[in-house]
Symmetry: C2
Subunit: 555 residues, 2 copies
């Protein structure tokens, strides 16, 4: 095998190499595949082809491994047919043989399962990048996207180069926003435009919204005029509205034609866009009239008219409806697609279930990550510095609340000096309140999100939560008091902690209901900051009740 | 209006009423609508009809308000046509007039928006239950389900009676599991079976799985044999597998027929099940062969054969695949439906996107609520006692961890006695570690859930998280140290808290990665218990590092 594993790169050497071919040859023989890749990337395909011809046979394969999938066909086209055949044959043999032995040289532990991720990492490790290209050709674009997301930034860029041009659009479409933005930022404009052409308009709109304005502009400029106008009208709607979700691939028909005519027209089209469970009926002025289900069409007689078969009571989606509301409607009514109209009732496009599923998935992720201030962190391998900065903000907010709690404790320094057992027990009071409060908070946040909690039933919910707080407060107050008495042999401390826990759990129930309601009234997302505010309250109330009672009674 | 609002029920009176008609009349005139409802519920429809005939005109309407929607048609059928017309006319007038004035008598604050929930609550308040029935007739079953979920248990049962028989199945289908189970438990068997007949097999299977075994048995017995066998085969798959998700309404065709024949057959069927974006092709022995997209069918020429048009590379879903895996595939490949096969490759049924959306929604909810031990609490208005019990378990687990932390503090009682400032500052160290750790934990849990985190990239993630821990640790250690020095004027305490915070943030990064990985290796769901274990670790390490260092240095 041409490449020996040698972890210590000898950087200083290749300065002395006179010509590019010598440089390349030296890099390859010294396992400096990274440098080789960079060098090859800077060359024209024809130039690479001429270099390849002059390299010894085994180095040719090594060099080819370092050429990205989008340049490879252009290089191969410049080679003589004989050399081309030999080279692809060598490459195949090389990839296969190393794949068979792929598990023993580096993987270390023999137990490790042969996952696709391991295959990719092994191939990266050994510089056999074409093996990745080969694997990718067999995988679904969504799976490739998943693998890319599982890789740290440098490895991701190298692997990304192994995705063929015609598939890179589909892979981009399946990537998380943040990862997509980062990869797209690294692509050169030519490839980006090529990939953009392969995207569905709605995904392309998402991508353009994620890119720097100038890059988005350039992509738009590269489209033909009709496509550009379409995209611009879609870009005019915010991302989180129906207009931002919609696609423009709907099949719209006029009501006055017959089933036979329509079927002939569809047959001419040959293909329908995915998720076409209904066609949309419009009039002469493009006004939305109703829907025609394809299943209805399949079971209709050719002489029936569209107007006869269409359903006019299907409520279209206004373009400015929030995507959360759209998701709720799709879910409640089990829709696969729905028409989108503008304020004048004109048909603009359609929303399909696949985009709604993404919205629902994101809602779930937002609820989970929002609670820890990770709202935007969708890339597991974002650069350390970027991640640190994002998380630091949340830690800073938390620090303020922690100092508030410390300040409350500080008020009772004198008491703590005299009865140090209080310092030992006080975190218990705060912690129980925090947990009970988050339980209520979670329920209320969910109720608000699903719209089940309105002004009219909050009083009932509050009463219920206070009831639960009372029951659990009594139960755990007794348990904690008993344990505290056993530990410190002091009945008064037991009584004090019992009262403090009961008070804190009641206050936790109250805050768990009141805080999210108040926040949502003020236009703040309770899922994002609710738990910090809540634990601040339960900490402060817990410490204050416990230490305050102790000061009153013990001193 | 017949019913005057009188909040003080005069319960003792109606004992004296001799006959049912007197009882009823008295109850109605004294606004004891609850008693009237109960009395009417116990009577045969014919009996109620005869009572109605004898009541004065205005009491008739009041009585009719209290009859549930499922009994009403039977009662009306027993009345003379003239009386029937008059009664429905009166009822309409009554409902409308009270609806118009609905906002002023009780609502109190004029600002309150006229939501459907408010309408329902007002109607309940005034005993005008038929107004609810009228509202419900205009609403989508999913919306009715949402309203039901927004109501406390007693009100929910009264409102549920206003849902017409033929729609109750559809409403049941849209209810959350827990609420559905509770309502179904209250229905009498006859109505339950009637409702069950209106459910799709997959929803019915869910319902039966939620009901007590005996009740489920009775529902099965009421079905005809073919339906029963079908249901039993579906019941044999666990709820969280493809088999538990699937429905049996697929359209399966043989490959050897032509498009023309198929279209004629479909036209005879007249209707296709919802979400039919593909038909499934099977052979003589019911073996799955491939799929035929309906859009392909629409654009095909009648003389083509199914075998020619079908796609054989569509991977069917094995019945024992987990529902999470099914959801991931639907999401990645943007599917609307997929065939389910058994181990022998026979076509069993199909999974549709609407059920997958439910799975995805539940995953999101589980991630959010699991963290606070609310895994199963889907009913916002579950009885206080049931909710208390469920949440008490989580509080108990938390108490153990809180006592562990207290025990660590207790080890340093001597130190705390001498330097009480430590007691003031120690919650800050623990709290910063807890927040930083949850950030990492959340990311890892999501990575595990999406399958992006495998053994091969954990080391890289760990390094990245440790890097973030180091950066944020240094930053916040300095900030906290500065604040502590300002507060207590003691440089040593500042240095100690700085080191403790740095240590705790590094340990938080390590635990945030290690704990969920270890738990998932042990088969425990990290989303459920991960955060408790994590905060236990960060509390203990935080207190131990801070107080331990202080003991070494200050004493």
């Amino acid at each position: 095998m041409p490449l020996k594993r040698d972890p210590h790169h000898q950087r200083d050497h290749h300065e002395s190499a006179a010509t590019e071919i010598d440089q390349l040859s030296e890099m390859l023989s010294q396992d400096q595949s990274k440098h080789a890749r960079r060098l090859l990337k800077s060359m024209h395909p024809a130039k690479i082809a001429s270099l390849l011809e002059r390299l010894p046979r085994e180095q040719r394969v090594a060099a080819l491994h370092q050429i990205d999938a989008r340049t490879e066909p252009k290089v191969l086209a410049q080679l003589s047919p004989a050399l081309r055949t030999q080279l692809t044959w060598d490459l195949d043999a090389d990839s296969d043989s190393s794949r068979d032995t792929g598990s023993d040289p580096d993987a270390g532990s023999g137990e490790e399962p042969e996952t696709q991720l391991n295959l990719v990492l092994d191939a990266l490790d050994q510089g056999k990048l074409k093996r990745i290209a080969k694997l990718f050709r067999k995988l679904h674009p969504a799976r490739i996207a998943g693998l890319l997301e599982s890789l740290p930034a440098t490895e991701r860029a190298r692997v990304w180069d192994m995705v063929e041009s015609e598939r890179s659009a589909k892979v981009l479409r399946h990537l998380h926003e943040e990862v997509r933005r980062r990869l797209a930022a690294e692509m050169d404009l030519e490839h980006l435009v090529e990939a953009a052409r392969g995207l569905e308009p709605d995904d392309l709109v998402d991508l353009i919204q994620d890119l720097p304005t100038a890059t988005g502009r350039q992509i738009l400029d590269a489209m033909d005029q009709r496509e550009r106008e379409r995209l611009q009208s879609m870009l005019s709607y915010p991302e989180d509205t129906a207009g931002g979700l919609m696609n423009m691939d709907q099949v719209a028909v006029r009501g006055n034609i017959g089933v036979g005519t329509l079927l002939r027209y569809l047959r001419l089209r040959e293909e329908l866009p995915p998720n076409t469970d209904k066609l949309f009926v419009i009039d002469r002025r493009h006004q939305y009239q109703g829907i025609l289900r394809t299943e209805r069409l399949l079971t209709a007689r050719p002489e029936q008219s569209i107007a006869e078969l269409m359903e006019t009571d299907f409520e279209p989606v206004p373009a400015d409806q929030s995507s959360d509301a759209v998701a709720q409607r799709f879910e409640e009514e089990d829709l696969s697609s729905a028409p989108v109209i503008d304020a004048d009732g004109r048909l603009l496009g359609r929303i399909t279930i696949d985009d709604v599923v993404d919205v629902i998935r994101e809602q779930g992720a937002r609820a989970l990550t929002g609670m820890t201030g990770l709202d935007e962190e969708t890339d597991m391998f974002a650069p350390v510095l970027a991640s640190s900065r994002r998380r630091a903000v949340w830690l800073g907010i938390n620090l303020i609340t922690a100092f508030l709690a410390a300040w409350v404790i500080g008020l009772f320094e004198g008491t703590l000096e005299q009865v140090v057992a209080l310092a030992v027990l006080m975190p218990i009071v705060a912690s129980m309140g925090g947990i009970a409060g988050s339980q209520t908070l979670t329920l209320v946040i969910r109720g608000l999100a699903t719209g089940q909690l309105g002004r009219s039933n909050t009083r009932i919910l509050l009463l219920k939560e206070m009831g639960i707080g009372l029951l659990n407060g009594l139960l755990w107050a007794l348990v904690v008091a008993a344990l505290a008495i056993l530990w410190f042999g002091n009945w008064t401390i037991g009584a004090i902690i019992a009262v403090a826990i009961l008070l804190n759990l009641l206050c936790a129930a109250l805050s768990g209901v009141a805080i999210p309601l108040l926040m949502s009234r003020l236009g703040i997302d309770p899922a994002l900051a609710g738990s910090v505010v809540l634990t601040t309250v339960t900490d402060i109330v817990g410490f204050f009740a416990f230490l305050g009672l102790a000061t009153l009674i013990l001193l």
